[in-house]
């Protein structure tokens, strides 16, 4: 579904990602792990079009997206969340989700200005769907609360709902478990598994929290110093000596 071929990213001579290939299959949860500075977030930014790869190519559903603008990548079914959450703080929760739905419930300026039925119908439908999505993640009772006032765990969840609102085929989650408490992590795991199994979503998960990664991932890719170390099932990864070396800090020499 998503395929990275030999991606290289350089900033001012500094190589952040070096020759990384990766593929995410439909309907799987794919985890991307690695120590700090391994280039995980850079990969997400490349996939979503915020950075352009210096070399290599990026395919989504067999089409190259390397030169596509960010918003078109999102519209083609690839949506992300952010490491430090990027909610629209002044908006209510439901408005946040409605921004995600904006493209689905399109109406023209004219129909708003002339008060045509189309805008009212679409606004209503969007609000309804947003509410249903909030229900799915069991946060509908916060619908009218200002997003900026929510506790961190809830904000993450709102961000996931907002991403779902764009009807993605592949969800990119940038450290969704960072800063969450134990029971929140368990709930998160449940949600992600549900999304995969019920909606058939593919998920690319970037995280260090092993409680998440190891519990739900179908496959795992490990990066270190911007290089690909290994890809495989959770069990394969656990027993891979290169991975162990990478985490223990001694695997610089492996290519």
């Amino acid at each position: 579904m998503l395929e990275l071929r030999n991606i290289v990213v350089r900033f001012d001579g500094l190589v952040a990602v070096n020759d990384v290939s990766l593929d995410v299959k439909a309907g799987e949860i794919h985890a991307l792990i690695g120590p700090n500075g391994a280039g995980k977030s850079t990969i997400i930014n490349v996939v979503t079009g915020l950075y352009r790869p210096s070399e290599g190519d990026c395919f989504f559903q067999n089409e190259s997206i390397s030169n596509r603008p960010t918003h078109l990548i999102a519209r083609s079914g690839l949506t992300r969340t952010f490491q430090n959450t990027e909610l629209f703080a002044d908006f209510s929760v439901i408005e946040n989700v409605m921004v995600g739905l904006d493209h689905e419930y399109h109406y023209g300026i004219v129909s708003r200005l002339l008060n045509l039925p189309r805008w009212r119908r679409n606004e209503k439908a969007a609000r309804y769907e947003a509410f249903e999505l909030l229900k799915r993640l069991k946060i509908e009772k916060f619908a009218e609360q200002k997003a900026g006032t929510l506790p961190f765990g809830l904000r993450r969840r709102v961000e996931i709902v907002r991403a779902l609102a764009t009807r993605p085929k592949l969800l990119l989650l940038d450290e969704p478990a960072a800063g969450l408490r134990h029971h929140e992590i368990i709930e998160l795991n449940q949600i992600l598994v549900e999304l995969r199994d019920e909606l058939g979503l593919a998920i690319l998960l970037v995280d260090h929290v092993m409680k998440v990664v190891m519990a739900i991932s179908n496959r795992v890719t490990v990066l270190n110093f911007g290089r690909h170390v290994a890809t495989g099932s959770v069990r394969e990864i656990r027993s891979n000596p290169d991975v162990i070396a990478a985490y223990l800090g001694g695997a610089g020499g492996h290519a």
């Binding site: 900033f11 977030s41 930014n45 915020l50 950075y51 952010f82 490491q83």
Partner: protein, 291 residues
């Protein structure tokens, strides 16, 4: 022909160093506090009026009058920071910017009412009699502007590169949270930037005003300084100086080789072209925001 060209260049460079003097301070405030200071031109004007006031009504001689002007202007910068900028610190950036517009108007209209709308004579710091070198006339008092802007830029450069305090300010500008962790209070750096830039305003004014005629509307020239800062990329002090001088030269050339009617249109058109085709300014490389 060659003399004409050199004379033209010289005129452009002098006018450009006026713009550069202003651009330096605008860039300083913008980088340090995130605010575009629309009051700067009026601060510059007010600084000179303090000088004039000290001379004409307090009977001081030039040197102490200059000192008073610079100090009063610095105190005014302190007042701006404490009374206006600090309370507005967490607001959308447009609000402190509009506050500077209002502060500028307070100064301009206050001075107009108190010192009158007519021009005041300001003492020249250097002679206005030109030297003629090979058909080109060079005026010492004009060179004072160029000299001052170069000196100020060098001083600022030295201050930020070689003093601990300057380094601290730079660090705080680049990363307020980080600076806080290291123990540099964020408020202190913005305060010192406001004081510093306000003192620069008075100095710039005292150098510029004798040559441009002191009226309450002299601050309008800051628009050109702003344009110069844009041309230089709005990020670096050397960029501001080069931007200012370049703008002056463009104006002079357009005024002579195209027509005086096209002078401003040409320079603004260059500005638009720069922004559209080289949005980070002529002298900066693109930077990437970390997510």
């Amino acid at each position: 022909m060659v003399e004409t060209f050199i004379q033209l260049m010289l005129g452009g460079v002098i006018a450009g160093s006026v713009y550069a003097l202003i651009a330096i301070s605008l860039v300083l405030i913008h980088n340090g506090t995130g605010v575009v200071n629309f009051a700067f031109g009026d601060q510059l004007m007010a600084g000179v009026y303090v000088l004039v006031f000290s001379q004409h009504f307090l009977g001081l001689s030039l040197a102490p009058a200059v000192a008073i002007a610079v100090v009063v202007s610095g105190l005014f910068g302190l007042a701006i920071q404490f009374l206006v900028m600090a309370p507005l610190r967490n607001r959308p950036v447009l609000i402190p910017i509009v506050a500077t517009i209002a502060i500028g108007a307070v100064l301009r209209e206050g001075i107009r009412a108190f010192m009158g709308p007519n021009a005041w004579p300001v003492p020249f710091l250097l002679s206005t009699s030109p030297y003629h070198i090979g058909g080109v006339s060079i005026v010492p008092s004009d060179l004072a502007i160029l000299g001052t802007s170069v000196i100020i830029m060098l001083c600022l450069y030295a201050f930020f590169e070689f003093t601990k305090y300057g380094q601290a300010i730079l660090a705080a500008c680049a990363n307020p949270t980080g600076a806080l962790i290291v123990g540099i209070p964020a408020g202190a750096t913005t305060t010192s930037i406001w004081i510093l830039s306000s003192m620069l305003a008075a100095i710039a004014g005292i150098v510029i005003a004798p040559l441009t005629t002191l009226t309450p509307d002299i601050g309008l020239i800051a628009i050109k300084g702003f344009a110069a800062a844009v041309l230089g990329g709005f990020a670096s002090l050397p960029g501001a100086v080069v931007g200012g001088v370049l703008l002056g030269i463009i104006e002079a050339m357009a005024g002579y080789y195209i027509s005086s009617a096209m002078k401003d249109i040409a320079s603004y058109a260059v500005l638009v072209a720069v922004i559209v085709f080289r949005p980070t300014g002529l002298f900066n490389r693109a930077s990437i925001r970390k997510v």
